[in-house]
Symmetry: C2
Subunit: 220 residues, 2 copies
DNA sequence: GTATATTTCAAACGGTTGTTTGAAACTGGT
DNA sequence: ACCAGTTTCAAACAACCGTTTGAAATATAC
């Protein structure tokens, strides 16, 4: 049973660092010092390994986010920052899965969203779609003045900011002179991320910001 | 000479849609209906083709952004929205490179930033680093109240939002019911993007938003 | 201790990748 | 019409990919 978990942990690290497509099973098994065939034996396929690596975090994260949302969704008014801060502890709790788990999972999430023509996204939606739609409706509650379409884009912008930052957080931490340990620095990033996303999402509707004057800028 | 340009245009579309790693030369040459070897003949290698596909947009974008920044960087005070709106026309002018050029280039940018262990980023930095640092210093001017480190993260968040949105804009446009033509919809996205990024970037410094109360959330 | 089930292992499989080759086809100038 | 220069082409190259195989090795149960 040790080999299976060992493969999983090595795979998570390599997937998070280089992406799913650019990490071969041979790299994983070489680093993990196990036989190549053991991946297919324990996980069935590479796809199975990928799903397992994000799955074990999702199955802890989803109920945590669920209960956090449940505790605020019946309030009369919610700010978007409150929503964001409510779900943060769930992510930080992933440290209990493994050391550095929060960082690894977030980077996996970023990779998974950018890469793969949907098989990971599909897996997440099928297994944790309820939590996702619950989050969406709470956000909608926090931003009642936005139209449906604006909300759609804002949510994606927020997701994009989040996910992209996480996908490249490793490189960014190395660039920035921050010399915190792994847990502290992922906290620090979230610390910086929440106000950015929060304020961005509650920006006034775009139409009133640059009405007219815009179509003229296009060059034929 | 027609083959070379034809390869380039088909390659751009496939790169933008599926990413660089997930687009093979055989896919490109099949769609373009040219011989496989012609890519290596005209561009030397796949890496050469990738650089050529973003290069021809960059060489038009860079001077455009440069002059836009020059026209505002000597003002006494600049808002971040003004900075963003100043560089937007440069991106929209990429429509003159080819129809749909703005959308294609932005998606290429997103792909390039997320994928590849740096060879495209390195290429951009080496050839257009001046414009990049110029943009950075103007942004710094627009947000004087932020510390160096906060600025670093804010800029990356903005870049992440921008780039990630563009990388998946194709899919998003299909999801949203927006039925504008190609040029209009990329304008529409930018339309929505600017206030989000603008307000996010000028959010108050994070420390005053969730002082204390945060470290306790970490689960060991 | 033997029989049974589980796990490991080296080797090979078929397929795809980017790249190279050298001959064939085409080009424009004289 | 001829010849150089450029461009195309089918074919093969070596390297890598995920996966499968079937025999060894190991662990588990009686």
């Amino acid at each position: 049973m040790s080999t299976k978990l060992h493969i999983l942990e090595i795979a998570e690290e390599l997937f998070a660092e280089h992406g799913f497509a650019d990490t071969s099973l041979r790299q994983i098994t070489t680093v993990a010092d196990v036989n190549l065939a053991s991946v297919n034996y324990h996980f069935g396929s590479k796809k199975g390994l990928i799903q397992a690596s994000v799955g074990r975090y999702m199955e802890q994260l989803a109920p945590s986010v669920d209960s956090a949302l449940a505790s605020i969704e019946d309030r009369s008014s919610i700010s978007i920052q409150e929503v964001l801060l409510a779900i943060v502890p769930g992510f930080l709790s992933l440290e209990s899965v493994r050391v550095g788990g929060t960082s690894i999972f977030m980077r996996l999430l970023g990779r998974g969203y950018a890469e793969t023509q949907g098989h990971l996204r599909k897996y997440v939606e099928e297994n944790y779609g309820g939590t996702l739609s619950r989050l969406m409706s709470v956000i909608k509650l926090a931003l009642p003045e936005l139209s449906e379409e604006e909300l759609f884009w804002r949510i994606h912008f927020a997701l994009g900011t989040f996910v992209f930052t996480m996908a490249s957080s490793q490189a960014l931490q190395e660039i920035s002179e921050a010399d915190y340990d792994s847990l502290a620095s992922i906290q620090y990033i979230i610390h910086q991320l929440v106000p950015f996303i929060g304020y961005g999402m509650e920006a006034p509707a775009s139409s009133c910001l640059m009405s007219g004057s815009f179509r003229d800028l296009a060059v034929g």
